[in-house]
Symmetry: C2
Subunit: 196 residues, 2 copies
């Protein structure tokens, strides 16, 4: 495969991912249609399957971008000068706001994992590890007495807790709650965690 062909393929990939990102953000990953994507990208239906294995792979590519933006948003939410609990609060709020502003893209991050059967891509686990690292750091300050294993467990537990609060909070058909109330829920839990 020549370099020109390769470049064209890459360009098509980009167009497809960009179109998919727009459509997912707009209507959710569940209503992504191969024919719509082909039209958006100005290519034939079959060309999609030349650039990607299947639609799933495109969603995964979008997820990669989303995860990267999410990581940036969380990392930008603190400056390192805060008290550890305060830093957890800031990160959690950043997580909430990202999820709230990019609800469909954020949901696609977790929706897909449930349905797909293949192994999780490495970059996905790496991104998760990156998020976890941000959490572990302040936790280690708050709980110097915890073992290494318990610290890892606490990290996952805290991430999962905030994730759950955001997930159900944004899901207004289950327990829908205004955004500032969700923030308050996070604060309630984190402040209890921080009080020794």
């Amino acid at each position: 495969m020549s370099a020109k062909t390769e470049a064209r393929k890459a360009a098509l990939r980009d167009k497809l991912v960009a179109a998919a990102e727009r459509r997912i953000a707009e209507a959710g990953a569940g209503s992504l249609r191969a024919r719509d994507l082909a039209q958006d990208a100005g290519c034939a239906l079959g060309a999609i399957y030349n650039a990607f294995d299947d639609l799933n792979a495109i969603v995964m590519a979008v997820n990669g971008r989303t995860f990267s933006k999410l990581g940036q948003a969380v990392a930008a939410s603190f400056d390192g000068s805060e008290e550890p609990v305060q830093r957890l609060v800031k990160m959690s709020h950043a997580y909430l706001h990202f999820a709230s502003e990019h609800a469909n893209l954020w949901r696609a991050l977790f929706d897909l994992e449930m349905t797909a059967d293949g192994p999780v891509p490495i970059w996905y686990l790496e991104a998760l590890r990156g998020l976890f690292a941000h959490i572990t750091e302040p936790l280690a300050e708050i709980f110097p007495e915890l073992s290494r294993d318990d610290l890892q467990l606490m990290t996952r537990a805290l991430f999962s807790s905030v994730h759950g609060i955001v997930l159900l909070g944004l899901e207004n058909r289950i327990s829908g709650v205004p955004a500032d109330q969700i923030e308050r829920m996070i604060d309630l839990v984190l402040s209890r965690i921080g009080n020794k």
Copy 2:
């Protein structure tokens, strides 16, 4: 519509729900097939749509049964003599074990709400309210200083936290963790919550 006809319709509904429950428990709500259900229930494909509006309605019926069983499992997990924090721990463990043992049925409870667009049925919100009531009670003992509103918020926050821990914990492609580790994560968070 005669009484006999009505009875037949009800019988078909029961057979369909039973078959759907079996198939969802086995393979998840996502791989439920109308044609399979018709075969299981010994009826024609079209008969399904006489008994139910669509497949979604059948899944909702199954969810009703699941929710009821979940409520029983949680309610049976404590006897009222425990310290409040201990009661929260017992309920959370019951929640975890139910979710773990009936993973596909439990997931269907929340999967469907994300995709469906109609309003949530009343019984669903009632069931949720019932679960919340179990949580609010010990919380009121632990935090007598909280306002009524904050107590409600804390209730939802705690439920969501445990839900999140269970959700991501069971999702081994995201952060998969053995069941006893999940239990420990719940304990870590709840014990911190309980410590004033």
